[in-house]
């Protein structure tokens, strides 16, 4: 059910998944309009300043004389800015008010997102109110209001999905609430937008907006009993997982692995990327990450498991790929 979750979805081109000027959510749409107006307006004002400067230097004498008095300063420096800034400010405050009021209505879904160096710890509740953990890939139903409750486990991070909404910081000791809605099914990319040291550049994430039925199925499958590994190498991979002590830091629901230091791996195989949107979720990438994590996420807590053999890494990658 959760395999190929994004298959058949309207695939947004990569560059559009993460673009403030290609909005797919209500807040981002309003800001995009504001942005376009301000850009055009700003360009026109810049052009005006250039033209006036050119006239001041090269223009005919009568035009220069008209520009050379204190009235130029009063009109250009006071009257014009006061009027335009007031109008712009009013529009901006009106937009803020609209966003605030929309966010006051209750959300259909609330997800806890905790920023860690350098990944995202997610906490959902299913339809029965049972909690389940995920990591790095936020799955939501399309077209409904979702609240992300933002917290931090260590330093300041920030959640930013340019195509959907503005960003909001994760500050230790506080909970901030980010309201979003994805208007089209698809994959939206985000990135941590507050410098958090080390691998800040590698702290991305994706938000997947599913049709409501698909989302319900995804959520229901969170506590479904784990399937046995499909083939021999995945079974061997499970042994490697246990022997290498991965369960000390990672959780796979329904097994002995209950560590909470690192991301939850229960449904790793179904994700599009690993390592917080740093690598595609392919067999080779998984093997490479386990063996040389510090190359991908320098300074992260995951030690490189270089002592595993090629076969072991391949089996482990197969096992992880089967966790769905």
């Amino acid at each position: 059910m959760t395999e190929g979750m994004t298959d058949g979805m309207t695939n947004l081109p990569d560059a559009a998944m993460m673009n403030a000027l290609a909005p797919h959510g209500p807040e981002a749409t309003q800001v995009a309009t504001l942005t376009q107006v301000m850009t055009v307006g700003g360009a026109l004002i810049l052009l005006l300043v250039c033209v006036l400067t050119a006239v001041a230097i090269l223009g005919p004498r009568s035009w220069k004389r008209a520009l050379s008095g204190r009235d130029t300063v009063r009109w250009g420096g006071f009257a014009f800015p006061i009027v335009t800034l007031a109008a712009l400010l009013f529009w901006s405050l009106w937009t803020m008010r609209g966003t605030e009021r929309a966010a006051a209505a209750p959300a259909a879904l609330t997800i806890s997102v905790v920023g860690e160096q350098w990944w995202w710890r997610l906490d959902y509740r299913d339809a029965q109110g049972r909690r389940f953990a995920e990591a790095n890939e936020i799955v939501v139903p399309v077209g409904v209001d979702v609240d992300l409750l933002l917290e931090s486990a260590d330093v300041i991070h920030s959640v930013w999905l340019p195509s959907l909404a503005g960003k909001l910081d994760m500050i230790p000791g506080r909970t901030n609430r980010l309201r979003l809605r994805a208007d089209r099914p698809g994959v939206y990319r985000g990135q941590c937008a507050e410098y958090c040291g080390g691998s800040h550049a590698r702290m991305g994430f994706e938000l997947i907006a599913l049709a409501p039925d698909d989302f319900a199925a995804w959520r229901a499958a969170a506590h479904a009993p784990r399937r046995e590994p499909a083939d021999e190498d995945a079974r061997r991979g499970r042994e490697v997982f246990a022997a290498a002590g991965c369960g000390a830091c990672h959780t796979v629901r329904g097994t002995d692995a209950q560590g909470r230091v690192g991301p939850d791996l229960t449904r790793l195989g179904a994700r599009r990327h690993i390592a917080a949107a740093s690598l595609p979720n392919t067999h080779d990438a998984r093997a490479r990450f386990v063996a040389r994590s510090q190359e991908v996420k320098p300074q992260s807590l995951m030690p490189p498991f270089a002592f595993l053999t090629e076969t072991q890494l391949s089996d482990l990658a197969a096992y992880l790929g089967g966790l769905k």
């Binding site: 560059a15 998944m17 993460m18 673009n19 000027l21 807040e27 981002a28 800001v31 504001l34 942005t35 301000m38 850009t39 700003g42 004002i45 810049l46 300043v49 006036l52 400067t53 006239v55 001041a56 223009g59 035009w63 520009l67 050379s68 204190r70 130029t72 300063v73 420096g77 006071f78 800015p81 800034l85 712009l88 400010l89 803020m96 008010r97 966003t99 160096q117 260590d154 330093v155 930013w160 340019p162 909404a165 503005g166 960003k167 909001l168 500050i171 000791g173 506080r174 990319r189 990135q191 937008a193 410098y195 040291g197 080390g198 800040h200 550049a201 991305g204 740093s278 320098p298 300074q299």
Partner: protein
């Protein structure tokens, strides 16, 4: 008050040895002893060169950044190295280049521009330079030696947010390097601010009413006051973060009642005015260059001055716009958004005033004019994107993205660096034997302007496509590849343009005192008078904003010594002190010449901070004592005794000593106390803010320590106040020894008062590392201790001088300054008692 003469009051030719004596008194030490020089021109040359050197070094770091980001998944720099490189780029540009460069321009040019012979505290200016230069070079060295050998460079960004920069997440000494490293920068900036405020307000040429003062002087005055009120916030925040790192005092730790946002409030309360501190003097330079290049006076002078003052004030009300995405309530955000938009208005006023000025004459297309035009374009674009990000909904997308990187470079590079290049091309002939090459300047301009725009314009796009700031690399396929590659190409073109300038500068600039290229532009203001080590030969009466235009014979008359002070009537370096608004001559100030004490003070100050960083505490302490000893030796040689009245020319007789509020050092003390007051206010903010964050940590009435110690402290403060009054009364009656005893006992009582209060908290079991509340209470004791320490040292110093007869009823300046400092300390101490003992009882939970 006799009216000032409108014709030169002195006869020519002057007595034959007058000039020779003037030159001898003002002579600059030769050879390596030049490091002891205090002439503002010499210090100014060193200062400008050092600041520009840091610009080039930080610029090289920028080239490294651009090379790393040219392609996705760049491998040129590791993440650890890159994070240090961008941190150092920002820190060096903001603290070691931008503020020092405009301060350097002030040191170099203000006295001449104002018709003074030097700045009012020559050794203070030299000290500010050496502390900055030594400290800056060692700090910058950290990135090379640090990252190669010890990984010791700071890597927390130039703004150093905790918790990332606390001991747990930044365990190496890089963060300490930053925190203590900017300590000497802060001292240097404040020392410079004192000089500039007193210099601009009290040492102008007679008749130079404030409304006739060059706009650059106005901007430097506002710049200096902004430093006074803004820097203390970052001084406090760096002290608090260092205390948290070194001793675990949890100001910023949410698990113990601290708050990461406290740092952001304090830092940005400094950080926003900081960018206007950087921009205003550059705008002032433009206001000097444009009229000369157009050969017409500035249009809207008063509007410009009003706009500059408005920017100075408004800029303190904007800081939260750096925190729009932290989750602060929308109502507050709306206020700061409005204020941030409003500040565009005074900037716009200046732009249109410059356009009007250009329209009122004929602009000569020199290299300086081109850089001014470049400034207009780049800064206007940056200001427009600034209005965009002042709008909260847009900023929620743009904040911490490359859009902001673009914006900040447009306003800072456009608003400060372009005018700086214009200033080089414009003012070099006044200070160097050769002017710069116009041809090279035009090439440099073209490469810099084109390179800059190619480098930074695409960043707006990358930012809106989701590229965050401070990333050491990025993945392909997000639409960031193209803009980044173009930006890197632009950066290389920009670097080439700067290289062209550097080659031209090295070939042409020959700093000199006396045979400069001269007034090649036929400018109107006094810095273009022929000058030597003693600035201008005589001090003219000013009746116009452009004195050289108003009186074409002025340069010759000044050179012939026909105006005031053509020689040195007291046989020492002197300048005329005038009234603050109308510039009526009040007295003749004697200035110090070259010496070692300020140099050793600077070396020991820099060493103190750098050794503390390296945790060599005893050695640092020894250097601190060395700095203190140097300061005392330095201070011992100030305050020369009254030399009676002297004739400064044309029958104008001026006293040589002033005391009370007329004295220039009284003014300097007031500036220092303004800094202390701003520091205290930042502290009160921190105290009250932490209370709003974690009120449960506040003890309430019944959990407070018993009030005995606090009451004892209050009583001791009162006793100290009585001793202060006694000292002043006794001194007025010239009872020197008794006054000395009053001073000594009074400062001891002050120290005991503060000790009693601290003891009270200690005995109650309160320990700073336990909670934000405890930490902020002990921080109060630390601040009281700092000011009390200064009062004790000054009190002992003055008592000694009283006993030796060097301070008398007439020669009172040092006692007056002690009284000011002491009264301030009493006031701050009393308020501290009220706050730390009264406030918790007031909020009263039990």
């Amino acid at each position: 008050m006799t009216a000032l003469p409108l014709e030169p009051p002195n006869e020519a030719p002057r007595p034959p040895d007058e000039l020779a004596k003037l030159e001898e008194i003002w002579a600059v030490p030769r050879g390596w002893r030049i490091v002891t020089a205090v002439n503002n021109n010499i210090v100014g040359y060193f200062y400008v060169a050092t600041a520009f050197l840091f610009f080039l070094l930080a610029g090289l770091l920028a080239v490294l950044i651009r090379l790393q980001l040219a392609f996705p998944d760049g491998k040129l720099l590791s993440e650890a190295t890159y994070n240090q490189v961008f941190t150092m780029h920002g820190t060096v540009m903001m603290f070691l280049f931008a503020v020092p460069a405009v301060e350097a321009a002030g040191v170099l040019m203000l006295p001449q521009m104002l018709g003074a012979r030097d700045l009012p505290f020559p050794r203070l200016g030299a000290y500010a330079f050496w502390a900055y230069a030594i400290g800056g070079v060692v700090f910058f060295g950290s990135i090379f030696f640090g990252s190669i050998f010890f990984g010791a460079s700071p890597s927390g960004g130039w703004f150093m947010y905790p918790p990332l920069t606390n001991q747990r997440f930044s365990p190496d000494i890089g963060a300490d390097f930053w925190l203590l490293g900017i300590g000497f920068i802060e001292i240097s900036a404040i020392a410079g601010a004192i000089e500039i405020i007193v210099g601009v307000l009290r040492t102008r040429a007679p008749g130079m009413h404030l409304s006739r003062m060059p706009v650059f002087a106005w901007t430097m005055l506002i710049f200096a006051w902004m430093i006074v009120f803004a820097f203390p916030a970052v001084i406090l925040s760096t002290i608090l973060l260092e205390l948290e790192r070194a001793f675990g005092w949890p100001f910023f730790d949410a698990t113990k009642g601290g708050d990461a946002l406290l740092w952001q409030h304090l830092f940005w309360f400094f950080g926003h005015p900081e960018v206007y501190i950087i921009f205003l003097p550059a705008a002032g330079m433009v206001s000097m260059i444009v009229p000369t290049m157009v050969r017409a006076p500035l249009v809207g002078y008063r509007l410009i001055v009003a706009a500059l003052i408005a920017v100075g004030f408004f800029s303190f009300g904007l800081w939260v716009h750096h925190m729009f995405t932290t989750g602060i309530p929308a109502v507050s955000l709306g206020f700061f958004s409005a204020a941030s938009a409003a500040v565009a208005i005074p900037s716009g006023v200046q732009i249109f005033a410059w356009i009007a000025t250009m329209a009122s004459g004929r602009l000569r297309m020199t290299a300086a004019s081109l850089f001014v035009l470049g400034f207009l374009f780049v800064f206007t674009l940056g200001g427009l994107t600034g209005v965009m990000v002042a709008m909260v909904p847009f900023d929620r997308q743009a904040h911490d993205s490359y859009f902001i990187v673009a914006h900040l470079h447009y306003v800072l590079f456009g608003g400060m660096v372009f005018p700086l290049f214009a200033a080089f091309y414009y003012w070099t002939p006044a200070f160097s034997r050769n002017a710069l090459s116009e041809r090279a300047g035009k090439w440099a301009f073209a490469l810099i302007f084109i390179g800059f725009n190619i480098a930074f314009l695409p960043m707006h796009v990358a930012g809106l496509r989701g590229m965050p700031r401070r990333v050491y690399t990025y993945p392909s396929g997000l639409g960031w590849d193209g803009p980044n590659l173009i930006s890197t190409a632009g950066a290389l073109i920009l670097a080439t343009g700067i290289a062209v300038f550097v080659v031209d500068a090295v070939r042409k600039i020959r700093p000199t005192l006396g045979d400069s290229a001269g007034d090649v532009w036929k400018a109107g203001t006094l810095e273009w008078l022929p000058n030597g080590a003693y600035a201008a030969r005589s001090v003219p009466v000013v009746t116009d904003r452009e004195p050289l235009w108003a009186r074409p014979t002025l340069a010759r008359e000044v050179e012939e010594g026909r105006w005031f002070l053509p020689g040195a009537p007291t046989g020492r370096r002197e300048t005329i002190v005038t009234s603050p608004v109308e510039a009526h001559p009040q007295y003749l100030m004697r200035l110090t010449g070259p010496g070692w004490s300020h140099v050793s003070a600077a070396v020991f100050t820099a060493a103190f901070f750098l050794l503390l960083t390296a945790k060599a505490v005893w050695l640092a302490g020894a250097c601190g004592l060395g700095a203190l000893a140097s300061l005392l030796i330095w201070a011992w040689r100030t305050d020369p005794s009254d030399a009676g009245e002297v004739d400064v020319g044309g029958g104008l007789k001026l006293p040589t000593y002033a005391s009370g509020p007329r004295a220039h050092s009284w003014w300097a003390t007031v500036v220092v106390l303004s800094v202390a007051g701003a520091l205290w206010f930042s502290y009160v903010f921190a105290y009250l803010y932490l209370w709003t964050v974690a009120p449960s940590n506040w003890p309430g009435a019944t959990a407070m320590p018993s009030p005995e110690r606090a009451l004892l402290a209050g009583a001791l403060l009162l006793a100290s106040g009585a001793a202060l009054t006694a000292m002043r009364v006794l001194l007025a009656r010239d009872r020197r020894v008794a006054a000395a005893i009053a001073a000594l006992s009074g400062v001891v009582l002050l120290a005991l008062a503060l000790g009693a209060d601290a003891l009270g908290h200690w005995e109650s079991g309160l320990r700073a590392p336990r909670s934000g509340y405890a930490a902020v209470v002990y921080a109060s004791h630390l601040l009281q201790g700092q000011i009390a320490g200064a009062v004790v040292v000054t009190g002992v110093f003055v008592a000694l001088r009283l006993a030796l007869g060097l301070v008398t009823a007439r020669r009172r300046v040092m006692a007056d300054n002690l009284a000011l400092l002491w009264a301030y300390a009493l006031g701050q101490g009393a308020l501290a008692l009220l706050l730390t003992h009264g406030f918790p009882r007031l909020i009263g939970k039990g």
